[in-house]
């Protein structure tokens, strides 16, 4: 897989955009700015996916991350009040000694990862010499006037092998999502909602009624 020409140019543009947006995500003072930079990083990575000829995953990335997860993040940021951060009164990083230690750790990690990937890639090239021709499967794809057939084929092939080779993991993933839905609903309930669903430990309830007499009324209503 060697990109060339305009593909190489776009590769570098989107790679730099992804890395800078990632850095700004970590460094931004305001959490909303962090979320927006994370969105641009995710979109750039989706563009890299397109350059690696996996258009379906790029679409899924944009729909799920930018459309779903990031909207959720923004809602939560607006639910919990982060005024102190925006005013600039509080420190956004941990204590300097912790930050130094973790940065040293990260530098070691980046050195190790880059060394490992370059050495491993050299070994891979020794195993399979460079200048690979395009695979027979790719050449056999029909070309339409707009060039869209290849994109359609990618979706078709991913879907086909998803259900052919990974149908059990697919079902497990759906159960996982169901658990996530139920779990987040349970976690985000208020005490009042828990009391009216009669789902509180009696000892805890006794203490809480002392603090807030309204809860006793709710409890009687549920009975």
């Amino acid at each position: 897989m060697t990109l060339s020409g305009y593909e190489a140019l776009f590769f570098w543009i989107f790679a730099l955009a992804a890395i800078f947006a990632g850095l700004l995500t970590v460094m931004a003072r305001n959490a909303v700015h962090s979320a927006l930079f994370l969105i641009s990083s995710l979109v750039s990575v989706a563009a890299l996916f397109v350059l690696a000829r996996s258009e379906f995953i790029a679409g899924v990335q944009i729909l799920v991350y930018v459309g779903g997860v990031m909207v959720l993040f923004l809602f939560v940021i607006m639910l919990v009040n982060v005024g102190a951060e925006e005013r600039g009164t509080d420190e956004i990083f941990n204590k300097p000694r912790q930050v130094t230690a973790s940065l040293i750790f990260c530098l070691l990690l980046v050195g190790g990862l880059l060394y490992a990937s370059s050495e491993g890639y050299k070994g891979l090239q020794r195993l399979r010499p460079a200048a690979q021709p395009e695979s027979a499967r790719e050449r056999s794809l029909s070309v339409s006037g707009t060039g869209s057939s290849q994109i359609t084929r990618n979706t078709e092939r991913v879907g086909g092998s998803l259900f052919r080779y990974a149908s059990l993991p697919f079902e497990i993933a759906s159960v996982l999502l169901l658990v996530a839905i139920i779990g987040s609903v349970m976690l985000a309930r208020t005490l009042k909602q828990e009391v009216s669903a009669d789902d509180v430990d009696p000892e805890v309830l006794k203490d809480e009624i002392v603090r807030d007499p309204e809860l006793a009324k709710l409890e009687r209503r549920s009975e």
């Binding site: 060697t2 190489a8 990632g22 880059l114 990937s117 690979q132």
Partner: protein, 137 residues
């Protein structure tokens, strides 16, 4: 004509340049990004995410850094999938399928994690991770 008579010497000169100059080699490999460049980008994104998790105090930004880490892993999966596809491997799409599952798990993790954040904020009125120290003594 004259160029022709010189051409063996010129050829030797260019060959020597290509063989010796490391800078030229780097330029050529930068003009043609391959699997290793994707891996480098993935590694850098991963490290940025790890640094975010370790240094930030805001729990929501920590969750965003975790998303960044998962995304770097996805980039590696996609790059290797493409590499195997070009080299004619049998099941080259396994990487793309695994990416779908990683995205599913990331979405579930974000939903549960943000539910925990809301419950935590309701009880402790803070989102700074160094103030959430109930298990510390």
């Amino acid at each position: 004509m004259m160029l022709n008579s010189f051409s063996p010497a010129l050829l030797l000169f260019f060959q020597e340049v290509v063989e010796t100059s490391r800078w030229e080699q780097m330029k050529i490999s930068a003009m043609n990004p391959d699997l290793s460049k994707f891996l480098v980008i993935g590694a850098l994104l991963f490290i940025i995410g790890v640094a975010g998790v370790l240094t930030r105090r805001n729990i929501i930004v920590i969750f965003m850094s975790i998303e960044l880490i998962l995304n770097a892993a996805n980039l590696n999966f996609i790059a290797f999938s493409r590499y195997l596809e070009v080299t004619g491997n049998v099941n080259a799409l396994a990487g793309q399928i695994f990416t779908v599952f990683v995205i599913v798990v990331a979405a579930a993790e974000a939903a549960i994690g943000l539910g925990i954040v809301i419950a935590l904020y309701r009880n402790k009125e803070t989102i700074w991770v160094d103030e959430i120290d109930l298990l510390k003594w």
